[in-house]
């Protein structure tokens, strides 16, 4: 087409938008998948040290955060349903609940990391370098990098959900144009999926 005129109905392809989001999710798998492989190999090579270091983590906080993320995944999934049912008020409420749950997850993480810092455990700390074996240093290094990277994804997810929430309020995301909310949901479920594997690997070492 040579002559481009202003169009009242700009190109909008829900399927393509979803496909693009999935392709992005695959790149996230490369990021976290690589780390999971590093974790598996080091655990395979240092089983006792990983067990010893794993006992330092609090499985109760891990379990609570797992449930928080699962519930938040449900609320954002419900938000997409309610958007399709043209129930704007409920969609907004469900998104607000999702954001609050994400915040609670981060607060738990803050206290969890705080306890580690109080025990003198952080990447490169004297306690870690002087008193711990190579395997334990590896465990805590992976723990901080992987849960930290995951927490970063929680923060990014929150920002995306807040943008989606604003757009729903403004009315530019609605039942016929749900892509932004759907993709925000896909991203949020990805964050949940990663945690589903982080939880047993770090908190359930017995």
């Amino acid at each position: 087409m040579e002559h481009v005129t202003q169009h009242s109905d700009p190109h909008y392809d829900q399927e393509a938008s979803k496909l693009g989001m999935w392709l992005f999710i695959f790149t996230e798998l490369l990021l976290f998948g690589g780390l999971f492989i590093v974790y598996s190999i080091y655990r395979f090579l240092n089983p006792e040290a990983f067990q010893l270091a794993g006992n330092e983590l609090n499985p109760v906080i891990g379990t609570i955060n797992t449930i928080i993320l699962l519930v938040s995944s449900m609320t954002i999934a419900m938000a997409t349903s309610s958007l399709q049912k043209k129930n704007k008020g409920l969609t907004i409420l469900l998104l607000e609940i999702t954001i609050m749950l994400a915040l609670v997850f981060l607060i738990n993480k803050y206290f969890e990391w705080g306890v580690k810092f109080d025990h003198g455990i952080w990447p490169g700390s004297q306690h870690l370098i002087n008193d711990m074996s190579k395997g334990e240093i590896l465990f805590f290094g992976l723990y901080f990098v992987m849960t930290g990277l995951h927490a970063l994804h929680i923060i990014i997810g929150m920002i995306i959900i807040i943008v989606a929430l604003k757009r729903v309020q403004k009315g530019t995301v609605h039942a016929d144009r749900p892509s932004l909310l759907e993709n925000a949901g896909l991203y949020w479920h990805l964050v949940d999926l990663i945690w589903i594997f982080l939880f047993p690997l770090f908190y359930l070492i017995h």
Binding site: S40, L70, A77
Partner: protein, 94 residues
């Protein structure tokens, strides 16, 4: 492409799924406390895999989406498991 009516998942389904996912979480905690030695990691990971399949199928709508998305996700999962498998083959037989 013809405009298909979008599948709307009822709220009730999501609640059932959440209950199942929380039950599986406690299942994975339970299996680790059974002290199965080296198999407890494996057991916990089986629970995680089941949970992630449920999340992918229902929360992420793969069950209701077009088949090519399922095929793509399945293929990527397969490639990823192959990479893990081959990496372990390498370390195990060193």
């Amino acid at each position: 492409m013809e405009k298909e009516k979008h599948h709307i998942v009822p709220y009730k389904v999501y609640i059932y799924i959440l209950v199942a996912l929380i039950a599986l979480t406690f299942g994975s905690i339970g299996i680790v406390h059974l002290n199965l030695g080296g198999y407890s990691v494996l057991g916990a990971l089986v629970f995680s895999t089941v949970k992630s399949i449920i999340v992918l199928a229902i929360f992420m709508h793969l069950k209701f989406d077009q088949p090519f998305l399922r095929i793509m996700v399945g293929f990527v999962a397969l490639v990823f498991s192959a990479v893990i498998f081959i990496t372990f083959l390498d370390y195990y037989f060193r």
